[in-house]
Symmetry: C2
Subunit: 336 residues, 2 copies
DNA sequence: TTAGTTTTTGAAAGGGTTTTCCTCGTCGAG
DNA sequence: CTCGACGAGGAAAACCCTTTCAAAAACTAA
């Protein structure tokens, strides 16, 4: 348990009897090193258990090979499929690109340290404009997921949430439903607000009444969905169809419905949002709106990386169309 | 949109007409700076929108002010309450300690870059010994959560999972149950295996038969719990009590039970593990074993930080007792 | 052998901070 | 007045690497 300091590139060079430069070349796989020196250096590295100092590398290269991910930390949201898929996607892309992901869970008010990252991804579930602005101001490249920010010089990738809301609602209406309700996501965040917007638009266009009591706010948590579903079912005239802004919420709504002795889809149709693979199982497979969260996150990292490396010019803006996935949780409304 | 390079400490010094040293002192709040210079420097910093280069700071200080968090990426596990609470806890502690959290989602086989972090936290849901060994080998301090590793020079904090399994099982048995089943977590990971171990131990001690068909493996996902619960209920002689190794699984098991027209706790008792706040809601509040995930994660960060700073000597080993939280999902078994 | 190429190599100049060690004043005590 | 102490500020070394540029070495062809 000697207090020896970590070996540096110089120690390796000395031991291998070559220059520091040569060692650096071996580390970075520059091909112009003779076989003989290559071996000597590798041996020295192994013997000294040398690993390059990442901070020194970053400093010397002027590049950080790290990307920031900032995400709000409110438990209800953080525990959602949505959030986790995004994290997974970013993590996966970072792994294949050999990038470090520095993950910042923010509570909105605290300052963001741009912490030497090449770029920052905002998984902007809740609005956190000021942080994005600060990052732009500080000159770091930004990429925001599932949130359209046109007035700032940032890139984004996301799904068309208005379209998503429309597709879901349109499907329900086309089945003949006129009493259709929505359990929204957090409506202070763009995604939640826009899905609701799509819902309203479609209802209006199809000349179906949009009743305020059919609009109840959730926060993507199962608990909020339970409360919302109960509220909906206790209405004097309960809806015959419910569009929930996430699969988890849809699943919970289904559970509540069945607890009351009603059937899905016979009595009430349910459509979700996400296409969470686990919503295929359960008593009835969930019809939903698919958004490729994992791929969006991966793509965000790739594009951001390309921007940082100067291979692409920002802003890159990419908005995808969500798709209806029909399974078993929707049917025509029951005849009165 | 000029291509100007980020301002450096030297630019600030020049503009404020002081030395680099003085600027550094202001940045680091060293008190020996005169009021006058202090102000000049602060003005220059503001004017130049200067922020210190984190990598240079880390290099010069020889300290990284970043902690690594490595966690397995298998979707079933990653989406669990368990994993997310741990992430939240680490994130929160990092935020208050002003540390960067570099989050590495591993698939087990890929090498871990120790990436210039001061220490690494292993949320060791699945065994990843080799990575821990590599980190120890590389000389970085390690802290593992919810996993006892006594043969390596690492610290850990966690709950006594055997005790947890015992408490749950004991409670069920004490209510009079003799047909008690378990839906395990991933049994290749220590937590899962130990909860099962506690279950078996208690049954043996209380002289209750441990029947192999009452032990079914889950992976913490709701889906696996559904499969497991169905399997259990279709047994010729179904259990009258089920211990699930996570609240999510317990909740799903409850749903399956109720879908079949059975009641909780009248027909079947259910106990979970975690004390996920959302399991209070639902048709019946869940009795569970509480483990303070968030606090454990926070504590892991604090202790690791203390070790890195040399304020504490490793290994720090802390194992907590999980506690039974009685709510409404358990009762005496039905009379035949 | 020689001149001309090509492949390998190394010295040294950064890269942006922190930190150690001085110096230069100023002030109070004697 | 002088000496010592103290407060404030700066020069330069250190941190560990990458990269540029030029030189050395090894070939190749004539």
């Amino acid at each position: 348990m000697s207090k020896r300091r970590k070996a540096s590139i110089e120690d390796v060079a000395r031991r291998a009897k070559v220059s520091i430069t040569t060692v650096s070349r071996v580390i970075n796989r520059v091909p112009t090193v003779s076989r003989k020196n290559q071996v000597k250096v590798e041996e020295a590295i192994a013997a000294l258990k040398y690993t390059p100092d990442v901070n020194a590398q970053r400093l010397a290269r002027g590049l950080s090979n790290a990307v920031g991910l900032v995400m709000p930390g409110y438990p209800g949201i953080f525990h959602s499929f949505y959030a986790i898929e995004l994290i997974r996607g970013v993590g996966h892309a970072c792994e294949t690109l050999r990038l470090d992901m520095v993950f910042h869970i923010t509570n909105g008010y605290n300052p963001l340290s741009t912490a030497g990252v090449g770029g920052i991804i905002f998984a902007d579930i809740i609005e956190n404009r000021s942080q994005i602005e600060a990052a732009v101001e500080a000159g770091v490249s930004c990429m925001v997921i599932n949130n359209i920010v046109d007035d700032l010089d940032v890139s984004y990738i996301g799904v068309d949430n208005i379209a998503g809301g429309r597709v879901a609602t349109d499907y329900l209406v086309s089945l003949g439903h006129t009493k259709v309700a929505i359990i929204t996501g957090n409506i202070r965040a763009q995604a939640g607000a826009q899905r609701l917007e799509g819902f309203k638009q479609t209802l209006k266009e199809k000349e179906v009444a949009v009743r305020p009591e059919y609009i109840v706010e959730g926060d993507y948590s199962r608990r909020s969905a339970r409360l919302a579903a109960e509220q909906l079912l206790e209405l004097p005239e309960p809806p015959t169809a419910i569009f929930a802004a996430s699969d988890d919420m849809a699943l919970e709504a289904m559970t509540v419905i069945m607890e009351r002795g009603l059937r899905v889809p016979d009595d009430i149709s349910v459509v979700g949002f996400d296409d969470n693979p686990s919503s295929i199982y359960g008593p009835v497979a969930l019809t939903t709106i698919r958004q490729p969260l994992f791929q969006m996150a991966e793509s965000a990292v790739r594009n951001l990386n390309a921007i940082v490396l100067g291979k692409k010019k920002p802003p890159i803006r990419n908005i995808l169309s969500p798709q209806l996935v029909v399974r078993e949780s929707c049917a025509r409304p029951p005849i009165q």
